[in-house]
């Protein structure tokens, strides 16, 4: 039976301590009884340190968790041997201790119940009760509809164990918003060109680059640690930075050139740059001759894409377009047009990243020092288990045959589509497990997400914190934080193959459990115990580590271990070495045969995107260096640094609307959606007059988050219009427009209700 899920507002118990502002001059007088050693810094020598790698964002920097003699986690310091961080964590990694200490954490398993009046609430449950119930629902789903009707949304390391469980169960529907809402277009665009994708951490050789071009990529505000460190090294080395952004970003403030482009016109600029580089004969001729396919077609394609043509579209002066193109060419091949990371903007994002790939290709930067290096990773064997069952259907059956042929990952929005019944298509998903991702903030078009949820037989949410999505769950499982658990080994690719260990520095607080334990417990209840033949994760890790010449004991001591590269090919095209690319032609495809076969433009074209109507401004959003998505806004250490977001408004626009700095307003988008909460105005010269900007991840609707609830506004809520990328299903989110409401709108809901 389908029940209309109510958003459960778990009431905040108690009043808590009064907030003390930074500027507060509250003098309490003396306290001679204060525990002095609690206030004084603990000496490193008096503490014990345990290896970990960070889980506050996806960069996963390795570090050491310091624990004092009383067992308190005092600080987390980067591991000097780790190439992800070189001993220096970012503010979120340093503040990771706030995640462990957060008093608002999920504390026990919760089960949704309905009282006699029809009011729904969460009941605290034991682990056995919650796991039995999940297993019962999963088994019923398997018996009645088939295991393929289950989907897993996962983000972060712990998702590996749950993915293994879901694959063993028999479902292929394992998805992360990091593809269709983030880096997907770049991976598809680069693969179509070079036969390989950009990977994470990105294979960008920023530190040795002589010219770094950032297109909307705000390194320094997005705190991808290795990228920041390398950008800083590039600045030290005198590299030229060219930043293209409608907003004067932090990166722009460190750049030689800032191109304040009209939003949604980047592709025109890229084509004009390609035009200048080809027609001024500035491209890397030997490289193009040896490796590239379709140069003549490209040359003809950009013949009329002159800087003058682009000027009318982008508002960037032709002379600046020429000058910056020449700067890039002068640095070639040590030039890097950064592929970006969150690139789902306007729906033609694969084509835009293709243009970025092409520009890199004609400047000869792929496989070259200062361009893109060739990463390598350690291959850790899997613990023996039976083969996974072969799924009979998948999320793709919810689309006409042939759709998304170039997509190698599962679209998170595709999971939603495959859940909402449609008489014409096979939309069969009926059960979701959501691990470590707050879908209400990570997916656009909340209405659609809520509709999909309303059709579910069950929704399980596993997280450390109550998030907006938690409130829609039938069963909530509290995971312990990364500081309290072992996890799978980190094996991400880098210049040198490297592994990192995460081990607990403290016992799990409250009644929380690690993901591996949850996965194994569910497997036992579902008759899948053969897939989890190890007793506990220490046994698994030690077995894996011994297969690669290490051991759990060694890794507990060192935390990070580097391995020699198998091949000496970090810059594998540096001297025009022979190389066969993994494309149809074996070449770098400037002209994409793969896209041509699928009936898409084989060479990127500029298309005009909708512009804001009068009185509306394009909603741009981005990151703040002290927060990750919507997950850190309640972390006390990071909340101290940034408590709410603000909406950036150009002074001319502010004058027009008579807005004042610091004033709270509501934002209304083109579909009439009004932000649940007001947002503070920041009047600044750092933004164009045709767009506004806000940091993503604020405006939480769950009261259980005592610090984050109702602070700032949610951009996700205002992104109701999505521009789908026809090539890979990415959800373009930068085509939404907002206007300002100075009065609190009537009937404005302060909580989302389904």
């Amino acid at each position: 039976m389908k029940t209309r899920r109510q958003f459960i507002k778990i009431s905040a118990a108690g009043t808590g301590a009064a907030a003390i502002g930074l500027q507060s001059l509250k003098l309490n007088g003396f306290n001679f009884l204060s525990e002095k050693d609690e206030q004084n810094p603990a000496s490193d020598e008096e503490m014990t340190s345990y290896p970990t790698y960070c889980e506050v964002c996806f960069w996963k920097c390795a570090g050491w968790t310091y624990v004092d003699k009383k067992g308190n986690i005092r600080k987390i310091i980067g591991n000097e041997k780790d190439p992800h961080c070189n001993g220096r964590l970012c503010p979120r990694g340093t503040g990771g201790v706030g995640m462990y200490n957060d008093e608002d954490r999920l504390k026990t398993p919760l089960i949704r119940e309905t009282d006699p009046e029809g009011h729904q609430y969460f009941r605290k449950a034991s682990w056995d009760e919650a796991l039995d119930l999940i297993a019962e629902k999963m088994d019923k789903l398997r018996q009645e509809h088939g295991p393929e009707c289950l989907a897993l949304f996962s983000h972060g390391t712990g998702g590996k164990m749950l993915s293994h469980l879901v694959k063993a169960f028999g479902s292929p529907n394992i998805s992360a918003p990091s593809f269709a809402q983030c880096r997907g277009p770049r991976e598809v665009g680069f693969t179509a060109t070079f036969g390989e994708d950009v990977m994470s951490p990105e294979r960008t050789d920023i530190r040795d680059s002589k010219c770094l071009v950032l297109i909307g990529s705000h390194i320094g505000e997005n705190m991808h640690n290795g990228q920041i460190q390398e950008m800083s090294a590039a600045i030290e080395n005198g590299a030229t930075i060219i930043t293209v952004d409608p907003r004067f970003s932090t990166a722009a403030s460190h750049s030689k050139y800032w191109l304040p482009i009209k939003p949604a016109t980047d592709l025109a600029l890229l084509l004009a740059w390609i035009h200048v580089i080809i027609y001024e004969d500035l491209y890397d001729k030997e490289y193009v001759k040896k490796y590239a396919f379709g140069f003549d077609e490209l040359k003809e394609h950009v013949k009329n894409k002159t800087p003058e043509w682009a000027y009318g579209i982008t508002t960037i002066e032709p002379e600046i377009i020429r000058r910056t193109a020449r700067e890039m060419a002068a640095a070639s091949p040590r030039v890097l047009i950064h592929p970006g990371r969150h690139v789902t903007w306007y729906g033609d994002d694969t084509q835009r990243t293709r243009a970025i790939a092409i520009l890199n290709a004609i400047l000869g930067s792929w496989g070259r020092r200062g361009g893109f290096y060739n990463p390598e990773k350690v291959h850790v064997p899997n613990y023996p288990h039976p083969p996974y069952p072969k799924p009979k259907r998948s999320w793709k059956d919810a689309y006409p045959p042939g759709k998304y042929n170039l997509v190698n990952e599962v679209l998170s929005t595709g999971i939603c589509d495959a859940t909402i019944p449609n008489p014409q298509l096979d939309c069969h998903l009926r059960g979701w497990i959501v691990y470590g991702t707050n879908l209400m903030a990570s997916l656009p078009d909340q209405k659609k997400t809520l509709e999909a949820i309303s059709h579910l037989d069950f929704l399980v949410v596993i997280d450390t914190m109550p998030m907006d999505i938690t409130s829609y769950a039938d069963i909530v499982l509290p995971e312990c934080t990364y500081l309290e658990r072992y996890d799978s080994l980190r094996t991400s690719p880098h210049r040198e193959p490297v592994i990192a260990l995460r081990m607990p520095a403290a016992k799990p607080k409250y009644d929380s459990k690690p993901n591996w334990w949850i996965a194994k417990q569910l497997a036992n209840r579902l008759g899948l115990q053969d897939y989890f033949q190890w007793e506990n994760i220490e046994e698994l890790l030690d077995w894996q580590l011994k297969k690669i010449g290490s051991s759990l004991n060694e890794m507990k001591r060192i935390g990070v271990k580097k391995y020699p590269r198998e091949y000496n090919d970090l810059y594998n095209l540096e001297n025009l070495e022979d190389f066969e690319f993994n494309t149809n032609t074996g070449k770098i495809e400037l002209y994409s045969t793969e896209l041509e076969i699928e009936d898409f433009d084989p060479l990127p074209n500029y298309t005009h995107h909708p512009e804001p109507p009068e009185g509306y401004y394009r909603l741009n959003y981005g990151r703040a260096p002290m927060h990750t998505f919507s997950r850190t806004t309640n972390n006390h250490n990071l909340w101290d640094l940034m408590k709410e977001n603000s909406v950036w408004v150009n002074p001319k626009v502010a004058d027009l609307w008579e807005l004042e700095n610091g004033q709270y307003i509501w934002l209304k988008n083109q579909d009439g959606i009004v932000s649940s909460f007001p947002i503070k105005v920041r009047i600044t010269e750092r933004i164009r007059w045709d767009s506004v900007y806000m940091v993503h991840g604020f405006g939480h609707t769950d009261r259980k988050l005592k610090r984050a609830y109702g602070r700032g506004a949610s951009d996700s809520e205002l992104v109701s219009k999505v521009f789908l990328d026809p090539i890979m299903g990415g959800t373009g989110m930068r085509g939404n427009f907002v206007t300002f409401l100075k009065e609190k709108p009537a009937n404005n809901k302060e909580e989302v209700e389904s």
């Binding site: 001059l25 003098l27 220096r88 101290d640």
Partner: protein, 177 residues
């Protein structure tokens, strides 16, 4: 010996890592900070400049906070580090008022607190916590009397400025421009 810090504004991205590292290193209570970030925007669109600065106590040679302290709790130790002896501080707040850099805050336990240049680390030959955590390597610390120290080397080849020079405090935080 003269401890000082140089902050490279060409590299700082204002991420606030120095603030969090200081909090966890020195147990600074939530809601307070010993170091902070200043964002200075000048010009008008599209000719804009932004300077980001990691700021803290300037450990002045001529420190008004030390001069005005009625109990002697505020004092200067070897290397020029300005400290507050918590037990001797009566929390009167005169030093807070006298500081042109707004570097001091009233600790909830009743005394005035501020940056110590992480003296407990410096005494062991380590850098202050903020310096060692900074992902952009924009903070340089050391002894100005030692020409090979990080801070001496950083100041040697770059132009720099100090904050509020008109206050005559002889501050020891140098901002590389």
């Amino acid at each position: 010996m003269r401890y000082a810090m140089a902050i490279d504004t060409a590299k700082c991205v204002g991420c606030g890592d120095c603030v969090v590292a200081c909090q966890t290193e020195n147990n600074v209570p939530h809601g307070y900070c010993r170091d902070w970030i200043v964002e200075n925007v000048s010009g008008s669109y599209p000719n804009v400049q932004v300077e980001l600065r990691s700021e803290r106590c300037n450990h002045c040679d001529n420190a008004p906070c030390v001069r005005c302290c009625p109990t002697g709790a505020s004092h200067i130790v070897e290397g020029g580090i300005v400290l507050v002896t918590h037990d001797e501080c009566i929390g009167c707040g005169a030093c807070i008022e006298s500081c042109p850099y707004d570097a001091r805050y009233p600790h909830p336990e009743g005394y005035v607190d501020k940056c110590t240049f992480c003296k407990h680390r410096v005494d062991k030959g380590q850098n202050p916590a903020c310096v060692d955590v900074c992902p952009t390597h924009c903070l340089h610390f050391g002894d100005l009397d030692d020409p090979n120290s990080d801070v001496s080397k950083a100041l040697k080849n770059r132009s720099w400025k100090v904050l509020a020079p008109e206050a005559g405090t002889k501050p020891q935080l140098y901002f590389l421009t």
